[in-house]
Amino acid sequence: MVKLDKLITDDKIRQKSFWQIVIIRFNSNKLARFSLFFIVILASLTVIIPLVSSYDYSMPDFVNSLEPPSIKHWFGTDGLGRDLFVRTFIGGRITFEIAFMATIAVMCIGIIYGAIAGFVGGIVDTLMMRFVDILYGIPFLFFSILLITLFGQSLFVSFVAIAAISWLDMARVVRGQTIGLRHKEFIEAAILYNLPRWAIIINHIIPNLLGVVIVYLALVVPNMIVLSAVLSFFGLGVMEPMTSWGVLISDGANNMTAWWLLLFPSLMMITTLLAFANIANGLRDALDPR
């Protein structure tokens, strides 16, 4: 079989898929591309640096406690003499882990819930969305604090608590999109074909939701980072000697005379959040150019 795609070299004739166009558009946004690159590098560094560094993130070294930044300790040392550079990166690893795990959970719950509500419609939809409205009435911060106090303080619980309150927006967005899709010809064809509902949702609805979901995810990840950090301010972050950006910043805020304790983790978090904001912007423009 001849591959037409390889023979036709004229770009104007050659058919590009939706996702190819999206990638091209995203790449043309320099700021967004650079931000994505930055996040990938940073995420890799949070894994690599604690492995290769000669300092250990958990070993106290009281002789060198609270040393300002120097060639030996780039970000200085904390009250227990631990190297802040390593701790910032291991904290970044934990922060990214919580954020990404929570985002995946948010995505799964939100997509399934929203797609079912939107596709089934009728009374099921009304009830499911009323439930979402009710949960919207609970301020997220108190709800996650409640969950963490109830189920104990651990990495797993804090990510569940964060995810449990963040899927609502996703469910709403997905439902709206699904309702738009439900009356498209290809879905009606699938219904006529007598496919079971779950098969239609999984094979035909969900793949067509991905555009919206991806834009939305780029907004969810930074939210999760902030939320997990906020919880640290209430003493509900990860436990010593493990750390996260939230814990580092809240420790730094409690010891302002050692300015480096606050400044470096804050700067890391700010650049990360801004990078995510740029990525979200780029993705939105790429997927939905009005």
Partner: protein, 310 residues
């Protein structure tokens, strides 16, 4: 009008009821006893305590007691400080608890709303100018960076390095003590208002009736202040309700940063002491505020936008 308000009120009540039910079930159906692991208590004392808090009753009766108390405006008693009423903790007679949080939020809203609207209108009127780009950049930065980062950094700059404002403490609740916390909240929430206003005025200025007003030969000043401002503000009002609630929540985070004696410290203490009743009360109170504000915004919307009235 009155019918509309009554309808919205009737819808709010079941929502609040289900929120209480969800929160209450979460607290009471998870295994574990609030008095477990306390300093050794004799079985008799424990039994008396459990009776005092109705914990010896079946779930539904406990819930009934709780709802009944709530309807009388009573959040019950703290699990940690036996016999201490939660109402006194949240709404103390002297300054503290919710009053601090409310004070902080109100001051912040007083700055956020006008500054956000003015900046948004200017940016929209001078679209793509240098000022507009500055405002848009400001919005991008401060809607990404949360209060828990800007707060400590501002303290580091203004309090520790330059000694202009105190780093923490409530003092007499005056401007000197509250300036930094209010600034932190303002920086975080001005972008919300500003973005909406900017988008709104750009849309309004391109609408047909503005073209008509221009065709009539009205001056730009009259068009902007008489015809464009009111419709511009309608979408702004719709974000005010959710925003006031998030400012309250943001105020609680800010309180943590500045060690203000508000709901934040209460929540932290409740979380570390596992004082379920207190957290439950704060959560339900927060939900109550959320619903009330959304209701108020709906009513304001109704008054301002004649199109909804039919």
């Amino acid at each position: 009008m009155i019918l509309f308000i009554i309808k919205r009120l009737l819808l709010a009540i079941p929502t609040l009821f289900f929120i209480v039910l969800i929160v209450f079930s979460l607290v009471h159906l998870t295994p574990g006893d609030p008095f477990q692991g306390e300093k050794a208590m004799s079985p008799e004392v424990l039994k008396a305590l459990r009776h005092q808090y109705h914990l010896d009753l079946p779930f539904w009766q406990q819930f009934f007691y709780y709802i009944n108390n709530l309807m009388h405006g009573d959040f019950g008693q703290s699990y940690k400080f036996i016999g201490q009423s939660i109402n006194e903790l949240i709404f103390p007679d002297n300054m503290g608890g919710f009053w601090v949080t409310l004070n902080l939020s109100l001051y912040s809203m007083l700055i956020i709303i006008p500054v956000g609207i003015v900046l948004g209108v200017y940016a929209g009127l001078y679209k793509n100018s240098f000022l507009d780009k500055l405002v848009v950049t400001f919005n991008v930065i401060f809607s990404a960076v949360p209060t828990m980062v800007t707060g400590p950094l501002l303290v580091l700059l203004f309090a520790v390095t330059f000694h202009i404002f105190p780093a923490s403490g409530y003092g007499d609740g005056g401007l000197y003590n509250l300036f930094l916390p209010v600034m932190v909240l303002a920086l975080a929430y001005i972008p919300t208002i500003c973005v909406v206003t900017r988008g709104s005025i750009i849309e309004v200025l391109n609408s047909n009736y503005i073209r008509t007003a221009r065709a009539k030969g009205l001056s730009d000043r009259v068009i902007i202040f008489k015809h464009a401002i009111r419709p511009t503000l309608i979408p702004v009002i719709s974000v005010l309700g959710p925003m006031f609630v998030s400012v309250l929540v943001g105020a609680i985070v800010t309180e943590q940063v500045f060690a203000l004696p508000g709901l934040g410290i209460l929540t932290t203490n409740a979380a570390t002491n596992r004082d379920y009743n207190l957290i439950m009360a704060i959560t339900i109170f927060g939900s109550f505020l959320t619903i009330i504000f959304n209701l108020l915004v709906d009513i304001m919307y109704f008054v301002l936008d004649p199109r909804i009235k039919k």
